[in-house]
Symmetry: C2
Subunit: 178 residues, 2 copies
């Protein structure tokens, strides 16, 4: 009631002062991207989380659960749950490593790879939808900027080469963003 804070005169240009913070833009766009994943993946019986883990496993190849959790920057216990689900569905296999029997080696099965192909197709259109405002060179530029941010935060490694290079460098702490 009362004090209705009219601000009609502020109709000027989007100056730096009135900028929505980066984090807000990223958070909202990320939510939207995740929501698109969910809608596209539901018919395939995959959750967004399961897809992300599956996709990352395809990208970086065979790893342990802890290495995968580090790569994704998500919680160990949550990854254990997701890995269990994927295992039950027969999309990945877990085998104890001989050298250190505490560790599991995670690998995509053929079913997993096949499902991932379907998933990529389902996701494609939503992806294009999100990027429709940008032309080819802008998309490349955006990808590059996002990639560098993600790298500096050690999130979501992009290529096997990158992943290996990084694994050599660190291989320490249990949680990447504690």
């Amino acid at each position: 009631m009362a004090a209705v804070r009219l601000k009609l005169m502020a109709k000027a240009l989007p100056s730096t002062a009135t900028r929505v913070p980066y984090g807000l833009l990223l958070a909202r766009l990320g939510q939207d991207a995740t929501a698109r994943f969910r809608r596209a993946l539901r018919p395939l019986g995959l959750t967004a989380q399961q897809f992300i883990v599956l996709k990352q496993l395809e990208t970086i190849g065979s790893t342990s659960q802890s290495a995968l959790a580090d790569a994704l920057g998500i919680d160990y216990s949550n990854l254990a749950t997701v890995a269990g689900e994927l295992c039950e569905k027969g999309l990945i296999v877990r085998t104890r490593e001989e050298c250190d029997r505490r560790r599991y080696a995670l690998d995509l099965t053929d079913e997993g790879s096949a499902l991932l192909e379907d998933a990529d197709r389902s996701i494609g259109s939503g992806e294009q939808d999100m990027l429709s405002a940008l032309d080819e060179s802008e998309r490349t530029e955006l990808w590059d900027l996002l990639r560098r941010m993600a790298d500096s935060l050690e999130l979501c490694p992009g290529t096997e080469a990158e992943a290996c290079a990084k694994a050599d460098g660190e291989a320490s702490g249990r949680q990447s963003t504690p």
Copy 2:
């Protein structure tokens, strides 16, 4: 130890084929941004969702719940819940509009504005952390690209001017991304 999957030859450039999809990068960075919000806001007794709604209300000024939900691209029922919480905390006020008594007008209270200032400060450092890999001009560029994506998806309007311009144009459908 053992089978470390040496792949040193693959250390070439990240070709288009091996690129992680945009949606995956956005989803992961968005999750990280949200997690940073949560950590920064917890001491203030705010959830990430509450902050986003509050911040957006500050940005676009007085609106109805449905307009705010449209602006944020989130679900009406969820916004009703969050608005109720913010109201209980005394951070916003809801007043029925005279011209259409179905609608609420939402406005920040002085407490809400004050808390938002504290929140912005708490969030600042995490924000800088995320952007540390980019220099000043790259940040501007990133912001511009994200802004244009968000605009094309009608998510997270950035300025009052933009919001007004947009409100004139559309003012239709109940859910922005159905």
